[in-house]
């Protein structure tokens, strides 16, 4: 009896002392809720089958696998002490760079005009998604060391670290991911203490770089068209603003309470291109209306708020910068993605975290939230 009590007692005490007792259930719960909604909306957008494939649940089944894998990776990112990851950061980053370099060789495969993925059997791996995670890790590690001293040499070092990843992503070309990386870099530098004028110059260079990329033909013409469509929304509807018009129509068709789940005409008839991936928000907007889409934004708000809070509460600066990187990544992706579906941001191929169909994006988003939860629960140790 005593032994049994002892065993139970030991167990309790191990749990009591484990950092897991401080797991941010609000953050994880919100993420899981968003993923659940994402699965439902992917099913809604694809259940009538997309051109030339498969049954009603093909995309749902695949995304379900990604979510399960993602939860596992999140668990891993929570369990492994983030301070250990700090040591792995350079290695992870180098592997990422190599993958980014390989993907633009004939080893990679091309879809929708950009060479961004490895086809491994039925699964496509997008190194650029993993690059976001790797950059958050390595910049947080570097900047935490050089906190408050990010003028001159260290700033140049930061840029030198980021440059190969950014350059390789631009070569795919994948402007959206490049923008996300740029925002992550700016946010981490800003919080780590870079000077305001340096940040302003960097932002300017980033914007100039994007404009040059558009004008010098680095991007495919369709990417430029999509990108600039939001500037002229009354333009030629048949061509470039078609995506945008269909997207706004679907969202507008939702009204206050939506057309009802699986009842949206635009969603079930496939009027919105790429609806299960980049335009998944339109399915929410049409079928669940202002109430549902607003609730989704609130859930995203909670995730971003919990992450930002962790940046504030972290007991070390590396943890703070990790959370800042994740906050920047999530907030920018949400704003860019939701914004483009509503015509207030240019159309770039950025997935909506936890919602859009796609394995790499799901895994990386889970890993990033795992990092935040990791920082959160270890702030007391």
């Amino acid at each position: 009896m005593a032994g049994l009590t002892n065993v139970l007692g030991e167990r309790r005490s191990r749990l009591d002392t484990s950092p897991l007792r401080h797991l941010d259930l609000v953050l994880v719960g919100s993420v899981l809720a968003i993923n659940l909604l994402g699965l439902v909306m992917i099913y809604s957008a694809t259940r009538n089958g997309l051109a030339g494939d498969t049954g009603a649940t093909y995309y749902l089944q695949r995304q379900l696998i990604f979510v399960v894998l993602g939860v596992a990776i999140m668990a891993g990112a929570i369990v492994i002490d983030y301070h250990r990851m700090r040591e792995w950061a350079p290695a992870i980053y180098v592997v990422t760079i190599v993958m980014l370099a390989l993907v633009i060789t004939p080893l990679g495969s091309s879809t929708l005009g950009s060479q961004a993925r490895f086809a491994v059997g039925p699964i496509a791996i997008q190194p650029s998604e993993f690059a976001k995670f790797a950059i958050i890790l390595i910049l947080a590690a570097y900047c935490a060391v050089h906190r408050g001293d990010l003028g001159g040499r260290h700033l140049i070092t930061v840029l030198a670290i980021v440059a190969p990843a950014l350059g390789l992503v631009m070569l795919q070309p994948d402007l959206g991911t490049a923008l996300v990386i740029g925002v992550i870099v700016l946010a981490i530098l800003a919080v780590a203490g870079a000077k305001g004028r340096h940040l302003a110059v960097l932002a300017l260079i980033g914007i100039t770089g994007a404009v040059v990329a558009v004008n010098l033909g680095v991007l495919k013409p369709y990417q430029v068209d999509r990108l600039t469509a939001f500037l002229d929304q009354n333009g030629d509807q048949q061509r470039t603003t078609y995506n945008l018009e269909q997207s706004k129509t679907a969202i507008g068709n939702g009204g206050v309470t939506g057309q009802g789940l699986f009842k949206g005409s635009q969603t079930s008839l496939g009027h919105v291109p790429e609806q299960h991936t980049d335009f998944i928000f339109t399915a929410v907007g049409e079928e669940l209306g202002f109430v549902g889409a607003g609730l989704l934004l609130v859930l995203f708000g909670v995730v971003v708020w919990r992450s930002w809070r962790m940046a504030v509460l972290s007991n070390d600066f590396f943890g703070t910068l990790l959370c800042v990187g994740v906050v920047a990544m999530l907030a920018f992706q949400i704003f860019e993605n939701v914004g483009m579906t509503m015509g207030i941001m240019p159309i770039t191929g950025i997935p909506l975290p936890f919602m859009s169909y796609g394995g790499s994006s799901a895994l990386v988003s889970f890993a990033c939230v795992g990092l935040v939860a990791n920082v959160s629960m270890r702030r007391f140790s």
Partner: protein, 638 residues
């Protein structure tokens, strides 16, 4: 640490702003402008495809088909295909259908077909070719083979001006059509004749399919189908047999006149041009139009599924004398001596002459320094109303016109009794026939002359109604203008004892099952005075049946002698042109049943061309053998 807190706060503020922006935009799209997008979503998901109704038939008085729809196998090409595809398709279709590629190209370039509608490039395609196109759709981008309703006029040119034709609705017609009629581009619409005036009856109600479609335009299901209601049949008063004779007689008469010389021409070297003419046959009992022919004519089948450009040009070339023009209702001519019906009645009404009084016809009539003579200055001596009509004495009627002038000059009552009588008999206004573009003609008087002078003093320097004007009017010359239909109706009123009818072209409307849905009764157009009717009738009978009658020669071969026909010849001078040849007659003489009016442009004397044409039609009306029409060389007299 406080600095980091500050920097983190700034990041927080940016994030709050970004989320606020998203909420604001979401509110704007879904709540502030929701209905706009709801409408856009609805039109995104549904396609409405109109289903044209089967057009009603046009039938003759005995129920014979003059126009109907038949189902034809048609190959159409979507004009929005690329130039490369177009070349490909034209080449393959030309081979498959054994049609010259140039013809196909011309059809595809036809500016009169809307660019949004597939162009029918070949009608009555053999079923093998149809199947081939359907089974090799990938080789024929934009090409469709389908059965289609095609308008058919089984009698070709016969009745063309009455029936009219249909064609694709043009932008102007689309705009003018009431919205309730639901016309859309590519629909056919009646363009002339009864096809035009009875468009609403013939067309029916278009139906529509409402399809739910996906983003690729694939039809998912039929959301709604409103069946098309077929149009009603229109039964005309036209008798196809008489119509056929009328058209043939008219064509023969004009052709034969062209072989004769214009005797008015001093050198006598000019042949008659006889470029155009028209015939109308009226049933005097109710004003029904038994036949209506205009020459040159056209084949309404040519318009089916787009008329070839060359044909269209030919129909509009002045050298071809406008075959599309319906001269019975749109042609305006000086009526010449046929107008003596009116001036004779006016003379009796005014008391200037009676059925038995006489006028001394010395071949000339002089009024205020002006001298008017009979044709050929023939002297008829003392002459009464009946004989004045038979021999067509101008002096008799000059006298009436000239004697009325002083009263008219003074503005006294009865001074304008010729004009008044003309108006009572329907001149100067539309008869109200159910055909488009009816001209009203003109009854000239002092007011009119003053009006045109005021409007254009340079072109019309004399504002006063002169004696000569009234004298000329009395013999249907000068500024008097009438349509052939007005002339026919005036004689109809006379022979029907003063009951002026409205020309009746449609007797009834039938539905698709042959049930009568509407009967169109005869419409009275008023009572007209018919004094000295017996003398006039006898005079008109004499024109045809006595040796001194002006139309004696034309009726010499008539199977019945004397013919049971009365009538009046007319020869009208036209400035710069050869004389207009006219004849208006009726049969039988007692209680006449039919009136026939014939007008031939630049065809010489009335007795020369128009009377022989009328003769053939009278033969047909009386069930007699119809002899070919040959123009009669003039022996003098008008």
């Amino acid at each position: 640490m406080t600095e980091t807190r500050l920097r983190l706060s700034i990041v927080g503020v940016v994030i709050v702003a970004v989320f606020a922006a998203m909420f604001a935009r979401l509110w704007y799209l879904q709540i502030a402008s929701g209905s706009q997008y709801v409408a856009a979503a609805a039109s995104n998901s549904y396609r409405t495809v109109p289903e044209p109704p089967l057009r009603g038939r046009v039938l003759d008085a005995k129920g014979r088909v003059l126009a109907d729809d038949r189902i034809a196998n048609v190959v159409t090409v979507d004009r929005r295909i690329s130039d490369t595809d177009r070349d490909l398709v034209v080449g393959r279709l030309a081979e498959l259908l054994s049609v010259p590629a140039a013809t196909l190209r011309e059809r595809l370039a036809d500016p009169r077909v809307s660019p949004y509608q597939p162009v029918p490039v070949a009608l009555d395609v053999p079923i093998e070719a149809l199947t081939y196109v359907s089974e090799h759709a990938e080789d024929f981008p934009g090409v469709k083979a389908q059965p289609m309703a095609v308008r058919r006029y089984p009698n070709g040119t016969i009745g063309a001006h009455v029936i009219g034709y249909t064609g694709e609705i043009n932008a102007e017609e689309l705009e003018d059509a009431p919205a309730s009629e639901r016309y859309s581009l590519g629909d056919d619409i009646g363009k002339s004749g009864v096809e035009q005036t009875y468009e609403r009856v013939l067309r029916g109600r278009p139906g529509r399919y409402e399809y739910e479609v996906d983003a690729a335009g694939r039809v998912l299901r039929t959301a709604e189908r409103v069946r098309a209601t077929p149009g009603h049949d229109v039964q005309l008063t036209i008798d196809l047999d008489i119509q056929r004779v009328a058209e043939q007689a008219l064509a023969e008469g004009l052709a034969s006149a062209r072989l004769q010389r214009d005797v008015v021409d001093k050198a006598r070297f000019t042949p008659l041009r006889a470029s155009a003419g028209s015939v109308v046959v009226i049933d005097t009992t109710d004003g029904s139009v038994v036949a209506l022919a205009s020459n040159p004519t056209f084949d309404p089948n040519a318009f089916t599924n787009g008329i070839p450009t060359a044909t269209w040009r030919a129909l509009n070339d002045p050298a071809n004398h406008y075959p599309l023009l319906n001269r019975v209702v749109s042609g305006q001519y000086a009526p010449g001596s046929t107008f003596k019906l009116i001036s004779g009645i006016a003379g009796v009404r005014s008391g200037l002459v009676t059925a038995t009084s006489t006028v001394d016809d010395q071949g000339r009539y002089k009024i205020s320094d002006q001298v008017f003579t009979n044709d050929g200055a023939v002297v008829n001596g003392r002459i009464g109303l009946q004989r004045a009509m038979t021999v067509s004495s101008d002096v008799y009627f000059y006298t009436i016109g000239g004697s009325l002038w002083p009263k008219q000059r003074r503005g006294e009552a009865g001074g304008d009794i010729i004009q008044e009588t003309a108006r009572l008999y329907g001149f100067g206004r539309a008869t109200g026939i159910d055909l488009p573009n009816e001209a009203v003609g003109r009854v000239p008087d002092a007011d009119w002359k003053q009006r045109i002078h005021d409007a254009r003093p340079d072109a019309f320097p004399y504002p006063d109604w002169l004696p000569g004007d009234n004298v000329q009017l009395a013999v249907g010359q000068g500024d008097m203008l009438a349509t052939p239909l007005q002339l026919a109706m005036a004689f109809q009123a006379f022979v029907a004892d003063g009951r002026l009818a409205t020309p009746r072209l449609v007797s009834q409307i039938l539905d698709a099952d042959g049930r009568v849905v509407r009967t169109l009764p005869a419409v009275d157009a008023g009572r007209v005075p018919v004094p000295a009717r017996d003398a006039l009738l006898a005079g008109f009978a004499g024109v045809v049946g006595t040796d001194e009658g002006t139309a004696k020669g034309a009726f010499a071969t008539y199977p019945q002698q004397p013919p049971a026909v009365g009538g009046k010849t007319g020869t009208a001078q036209v400035a710069g042109k050869q004389n207009t040849s006219l004849f208006v007659g009726f049969t039988p003489i007692q209680n006449p049943r039919y009136v026939v009016a014939v007008v031939a442009e630049e065809a010489g004397y009335g007795s020369q061309t128009s009377a022989p044409i009328a003769r053939a039609i009278f033969e047909a009306l009386n069930g007699l053998p119809v002899a070919p029409v040959v123009a009669i060389p003039p022996a003098g007299g008008n």
